[in-house]
């Protein structure tokens, strides 16, 4: 396989060896981990390298931060590679630059992440909730989300602290 080739050609490895490096991660494929300040720079770089299709934005609620994962794909590459961009925002200040100006498809995905996890996207053209009503309080996909109307499925087979609460 000419995998090295793809990474060398597309990746930022050659241009910015200190900051942005695409590595291959088990289970995910090529990943690019950036600080949240660099997300826009990384996105512009990838877009210029031909990554023209953004397929999802996912947020993961970690104990003190929210991890964000973006998957971008290049239609121009013959080898057809995808890169997963990873970044993190602290829970105390969950703000990050919006990627909607770069990939229009980020629009709804970012709205969804805001709706369910409470990450604010700076520069988003339409920062409304996606699924929940406009007046909803709280972010349902956060681990500490509590709601009286929520029926929690009790499972005796739990080995994770906090699950049986």
């Amino acid at each position: 396989m000419s995998n090295e080739n793809i990474v060398g050609k597309n990746g930022q490895g050659e241009k910015d060896p200190n900051e942005l490096k695409i590595v291959e991660e088990k289970g995910l494929g090529y990943t690019l981990t950036v600080a949240r300040e660099d997300i826009l720079k990384a996105a512009v770089g990838l877009k210029e390298a031909g990554f023209d299709l953004l397929t999802f934005v996912a947020g993961v609620d970690m104990p003190d931060s929210i991890k964000l994962t973006y998957r971008v794909y290049s239609s121009k590459q013959k080898n057809q590679v995808a890169v997963i961009i990873k970044t993190e925002v602290p829970k105390s200040d969950p703000v990050i630059d919006s990627l909607t100006p770069i990939w229009s498809s980020a629009n709804w995905h970012e709205r969804e992440t805001y709706d369910l996890l409470g990450v604010e996207f700076k520069g988003h053209p339409d920062p409304r909730r996606m699924f929940m009503p406009e007046d909803w309080v709280g972010y349902p996909l956060r681990k500490d989300y509590k709601d009286d109307r929520m029926v929690v499925f009790e499972d005796y087979r739990t080995d994770r602290p906090g699950d049986s609460e």
């Binding site: 289970g27 023209d52 996912a58 994962t69 995905h109």
Partner: protein, 397 residues
């Protein structure tokens, strides 16, 4: 008597009258008629909304100038539910995501968990998965063709396509007892082996559909009225489609050969000989035709898969009931009937997933709907929504 006299017009008068009634562009465009913008609420309970889409249409005469979609009416927060279930307990939920192509959803989820837990699936199970995924794709595309025809006003094709789809559902029912939400794919394999005589019936159906689909092509796609209605309506270019994140048949109809079965091969697809169908115009007509052509390719795959089907176990040995994958992350995707369907799972090493993110192609495709349909006639907007083929179980999750 006098009345007749009055209505009698001389030749000179007639010429004058004709002149008066003749189409005059400058006069027509004069804003003599006061019109105002009409705001129309569409859905969420509308037969052609393909589920529970609510949209606000701004209308200028019959032209839709602005569309604001509202989704979330079917939001069940499956991603939250997944965090409270074990890996195998979440399996039936995946069928309720895209309920028109449940097989693909179960497969994508199982593939991700298998990647996470390093489970090797037996070859026979892989072949069975391919067979059912392709049958599912045909069933889903047949449903698409049926509903699109109905939306365009052609009622008879509906019955033909549903008749064929029904035969696939019978095959599914014989196999796993369910017609829509199968729960057939299991982590590490599939739940049941083929009943006696199933393969013969499946082959008989494939041979039948190979012939009939050509007739249906003539009946629906070759029809003058249908072509007139669909050709050149709501086209988009490949660049715009990629920018909006459209995948699946709508993207391929613009000429981009993005099909996960080929671009990121999984299972036994590399052994299959088939073409990725692409079209050039990206209009409503191409988006319908591409589905019919994909049915033909799926039939081709099915024949090969049935021929190559090996003997052996159908589920991996030693897969625990409560799978405990090592901490880590995995992403796997399949080509569902609607596009690039992926699951992203984060494991913390316990028996339940820490986070499950579902990348639904309907969600991404629907996002482009306002941009595609704005500027079209109201009657075509519903058709355009139909050709994107969103399933709201997957949009809202």
């Amino acid at each position: 008597m006098s009345k007749i006299e009055e209505t009698k017009v001389s030749k000179a008068n007639l010429a004058e009258l004709e002149k008066e009634l003749a189409f005059d562009e400058t006069r027509e465009s004069e804003p003599t008629l006061k019109t105002e913008e009409l705001v129309l609420n569409f859905g969420p309970q509308h037969p052609s909304a393909h589920g529970v889409l609510r949209a606000i249409f701004n209308l200028d005469g019959e032209v839709v100038t602005k569309i604001v979609p509202y989704i979330g009416y079917l939001h069940r927060c499956f991603e939250k539910i997944a965090e409270k279930r074990t890996y195998s307990q979440f399996m039936p939920f995946t069928d309720r995501m895209d309920y028109v192509s449940s097989m693909h959803n179960g497969w994508a989820y199982a593939m991700t968990v298998e990647k996470l837990a390093d489970i090797k699936v037996p070859e026979r199970a892989e072949y069975l998965r391919v067979i059912f995924a392709e049958f599912q794709r045909i069933a889903s595309h047949l449903l698409f063709l049926a509903t699109t025809a109905t939306e365009a006003g052609a009622l008879s094709p509906f019955f033909y396509f549903f008749d064929e789809r029904e035969r696939i559902l019978w095959l599914f029912e014989r196999l796993c007892g369910a017609r829509l939400t199968y729960n057939y794919v299991r982590i590490g394999g599939v739940s049941a082996d083929l009943p006696d005589g199933w393969l013969e019936d499946a082959l008989a159906f494939i041979n039948r559909l190979e012939k009939t689909i050509l007739e249906y092509d003539k009946l629906l796609l070759g029809g003058y009225i249908f072509k007139k209605r669909m050709k050149g309506v709501a086209p988009f270019s490949a660049e715009r489609a990629l920018d909006w994140g459209i995948t699946g048949p709508p993207l391929r109809s613009t000429g981009i050969p993005y099909d996960i079965r080929r671009s990121d091969p999984y299972s036994v697809y590399p052994r299959m000989d088939f073409d990725v169908v692409i079209k050039d115009n990206g209009d409503n007509y191409d988006r319908v035709c591409i589905r019919s052509d994909e049915i033909k390719q799926s039939l081709k795959i099915l024949k090969q898969a049935i021929e190559q089907l090996p003997d052996g176990p159908i589920i991996a040995d030693g897969v625990a009931k409560d799978i405990r994958p090592p901490a880590g992350e995995a992403f796997a995707h399949v080509e569902s009937s609607r596009g690039d369907l992926g699951y992203y799972i984060v494991s913390d090493g316990s028996i339940k997933p820490y986070r499950v993110k579902i990348q639904g192609p309907s969600f991404a495709n629907l996002q482009a709907f306002p941009a595609i349909a704005e500027g079209a006639y109201l009657g075509d907007v519903v058709l355009t929504l139909g050709t994107l083929d969103p399933v709201f179980g997957e949009v809202d999750r």
